[in-house]
């Protein structure tokens, strides 16, 4: 079956612009996660959804970052007034249900470059 997909694959934007990154989880997966991976680092947790609600948004770095999952499927990560430090690969993962027993399946990521 289809895995987690993320669009766009690459995004280049100018400092100060607004961007949206999309994640399509595996069909039927109720849990969805966003991570950010800076160059030479491991992924860092941003936010976790269980269904439509954000169950844990403690990893969002500031109020320029926001994520939604209005119908409990597709999720969009939104970044306002982008800064060069936002440049990274943004990874999305989904899981059949919440809980560490269930494997998180990752997408290929969106590489965001802020110039």
């Amino acid at each position: 079956g289809a895995g987690v997909s993320q669009t766009p694959s690459n995004k280049v934007t100018e400092k100060g612009k607004y961007v949206e990154l999309r994640c399509d989880p595996i069909s039927g997966h109720t849990a969805l996660y966003w991570y950010r991976q800076s160059l030479g680092q491991g992924p860092e947790f941003l936010i976790y959804f269980q269904g439509t609600g954000a169950a844990d948004d403690s990893g969002l770095p500031n109020d320029r970052f926001f994520a939604v999952r209005p119908e409990g499927s597709v999720s969009t990560l939104k970044i306002q007034r982008t800064e060069r430090g936002d440049s990274a690969v943004y990874l999305c993962a989904s899981s059949p249900q919440a809980g560490q027993f269930y494997e998180q399946y990752f997408g290929p990521g969106t590489r965001l470059t802020v110039t």
Binding site: Y33, Q41, P43, A55, D56, L91, Q100
Partner: protein, 116 residues
């Protein structure tokens, strides 16, 4: 806060040989999960192996096995009969079972090169 440390930025191994990747972590929790993920150049993270902290038996998945030392907070990955397709970044990750957060905490990774 929980942290995961991978002290080997790079490792190399000859094809068909065995290599061990190191990982240590810091937590005050007694129950948690530990993972090894593989990230090839395609960027897609793939779960290699998982260990539940309350299980004393080390997890094994085909050529991949772990050495879990709970008291030492150590979780190393052994790859036997290394293959060219094993070349990738390997990330160790921790996830708590308490507190309701399902997030993964990752180390910085180890780049594994497999030489033919």
């Amino acid at each position: 806060a929980q942290t995961v440390t991978q002290s080997q930025p790079e490792m190399s191994v000859q094809e068909a040989e065995t290599v061990t990747l190191s990982c240590t972590y810091d937590t005050s929790e007694s129950d948690y999960y530990l993972f090894w993920y593989k990230q090839p150049p395609s960027r897609q993270m793939i779960l290699v192996i998982r260990q539940e902290a309350y299980k004393q038996q080390n997890a094994t998945e085909n050529r991949f096995s772990v050495n879990f030392q709970k008291a030492a907070k150590s979780f190393s990955l052994k790859i036997s009969d290394s293959q060219l397709g094993d070349a990738a970044m390997y990330f160790c990750a921790y996830s708590p079972t308490q507190g309701g957060s399902e997030k993964l905490v990752f180390g910085k990774g180890t780049k594994l090169t497999v030489n033919p």
